[in-house]
């Protein structure tokens, strides 16, 4: 790991311990507090991976992955907030050379609601008032949307709360019905797919952070929780599953933390990380028994977030098709 990456990891770890750990439950219940958002901005996490000439900090990709990984371990919502702004919004704005809008995001003046339901099939219908329904980020003042025609639009507007709905995951970001007041074309579905393709390492970092956060919780709990007068860790089915999860996690982290990993390896990593995060979070909840089912214990959020993140940004069909085409040296897996 290079010096910049190591420094980044230590900084984010310290930040998460000091500013997020005790607030993680509050984030789930009430959304990311403004004070936390301000600190994220102060630290320069938003815009960190954008080139200096575009107004960013020019952070290398490994350091950026480490940052997302460490944030996701404590609060997947906070990590996702940074990820969506850095990897989707700012990259999209950057491709259109919209420096003013970029600065507004980096300074915290603007925050974007995101709607990409079209990526995974049919689009969630707009509201009768033209609102973009169920957009991610309930405290946004701008939006970015992939519409049914495959065009990306962005603009200003107002986020309205959604009644009788509690999102499955990323509750710290929340969801809203976003009512646009302006609309500007800023790309195509293909642009977004390309952005997500080069963000595989960052997406893997989110999944692995979630997995490690959950596994850490499970290790801590099974060490102290006793049943039939023995700590849970003494039982084979518990200890062996934890050992398996930890082994997979360490192997995948090895690739995540490798500076030299290319795009295809990152795509492979994303696929395996998504799968591990679902498995690890499920076992972590199960090993907590009834307590795992309550939000107070901070483990069910990893389970929810893992599945929600999968639904929002993970594209197994498209990604596997790319991988298969590399193996077969041509088009494959399309029937």
């Amino acid at each position: 790991m290079n010096e910049q990456a190591e420094l980044m990891r230590d900084t984010v770890k310290e930040f998460a311990d000091k500013n997020l750990k005790d607030l993680a439950l509050k984030v789930e219940r009430e959304g990311i507090p403004d004070a936390v958002k301000e600190k994220i901005l102060e630290q320069g996490f938003v815009g960190s991976n954008l080139p200096v000439e575009m107004g960013g900090a020019g952070l290398d990709s490994l350091s950026h992955r480490l940052m997302l990984f460490e944030l996701a371990k404590v609060s997947p919502s906070v990590a996702a907030y940074v990820f969506f702004h850095n990897d989707v919004v700012l990259k999209q704005l950057s491709s259109g050379n919209k420096k003013d809008l970029i600065q507004s995001v980096i300074s915290g003046k603007d925050s974007y609601a995101l709607s990409f339901s079209r990526l995974s099939g049919e689009k969630i219908e707009d509201g009768s008032n033209g609102a973009i329904r169920r957009a991610l980020n309930e405290k946004a003042n701008r939006y970015i949307e992939l519409d049914a025609s495959g065009t990306i639009f962005a603009g200003e507007g107002k986020a309205e709360p959604v009644k009788n709905f509690k999102p499955l995951g990323l509750r710290g970001m929340g969801v809203c019905d976003f009512l646009p007041s302006s609309k500007e074309e800023c790309g195509t579905k293909e642009d977004l797919e390309n952005i997500l393709a080069v963000s595989s390492g960052d997406i893997a970092a989110l999944f692995l952070g979630i997995a490690e956060g959950a596994v850490d919780k499970a290790i801590e709990y099974t060490n102290v929780r006793k049943t039939f007068n023995e700590p849970l860790k003494n039982y084979e089915p518990v200890a062996f599953r934890i050992a398996e999860l930890k082994s997979e996690l360490e192997m995948l982290k090895f690739v995540l933390f490798d500076e030299g990993s290319d795009e295809i390896r990152m795509l492979m990593l994303k696929d395996l990380s998504a799968s591990l995060s679902r498995k690890a979070t499920k076992y972590a909840l199960q090993f907590h028994g009834g307590y795992g089912y309550l939000e107070d214990f901070g483990v069910e959020k990893f389970y929810r977030d893992s599945v929600a993140l999968n639904a929002i940004i993970y594209r197994p069909v498209e990604d596997k098709r790319i991988l298969a085409s590399k193996i077969y040296f041509g088009k494959s897996g399309f029937i």
Partner: protein
Amino acid sequence: MNFDLDKELEEYSKKVREFSLKEFGNDVASKYDVEEKYPDELRLKALKEGIIDFSNPWKTMIGIEEMCRVDPGMGISVTVPYFGAEVLMLHGSDYLKENYLGKVAMGEKIMGLGVTEPGGGSDVAGLKTVARKEGDKYIVNGSKMFITNGTIADFFVMLARTSPPDDPKKRHRGLSVLVVERGFKGFASNKLTGKLGVRATNTGELILNNVEVPAKNLVGEEGKGFYYIMEFFNISRIFVAAQSIGIAQGVLDRTTEYLKKLEKEGEYVGEERKFKLAEIATRVEASRLLMYKAASFLFNYNPNPILTSMAKGYASETASFAAETAMEITGQIGLNSEIERFFRDSKIMEIWEGTSEVEKIVISRMMLKGDKSE
């Protein structure tokens, strides 16, 4: 061999489905889920309209499945006011049946089962709640955790230690079942909120501080409580299998509809997603057949705990498999539909009434002793 339900059960199943669709569609279920509110009016309506029918256990099982297929949180809420009733039916005195069970059956009271404790979980015999006999009453001290109907039940069928075990290795001895009313002095409860799923159901923590329970509220014989509760779990696990199959079937219905719609609109579906649908469908059928087999033993007064644990364990894992897979298939559409609620509701199936691990312990332990699943 005939796998069809008889006419009476077919008609009952249809009636329950119609009731459920009419009374708790997505909007209603969402509201109770978000507000974490118990639908008491629905309990009374279900009773009035004959949806709750104790005349035939097959009806109970099939009714639970049908209700959970429409919505797990609401479906369980309708059927759970009677939770623990079998303990009183099988071992309660006439006094207990008349004064407690009868009133539950009439809809006048709600009951609950007080077994799990804060440090207990799967280890039922390790409970710490103590009931000390003093004259014609028991003085109960302790606490209970994750109790369904915890803050709404009028009374609880509660397991407590009435004497120390004669052998430290035989902790299941010396436990008894008592009927403890909410109104007894020294009884307190707190609602547990922030559950992942089944949020329309009420869950609480009970605190028992020198609660005086009349000796006539002892269920059956003193010292036999552990056996009564294990016997009860052998019954209730079938009903959890039914909840689980209802969830899995509900998820399957919705996922099938989603893929049909995509195909109709000319959207790409792909073999991978179709294979996943096929896996869910196959597991739902297998779970249901296993449940029917276990139920046929149980309802013919010949319970087979191996089969019951297999049915509960497999069906509960099928419920969460189905819901997780459905989330993968439906992506963001699923995230914004009932499927996400089914996903959250499904996980508790692998935890309550014996975790998946406990079911595997029961199965393997009995098989190694020479018992069989036939």
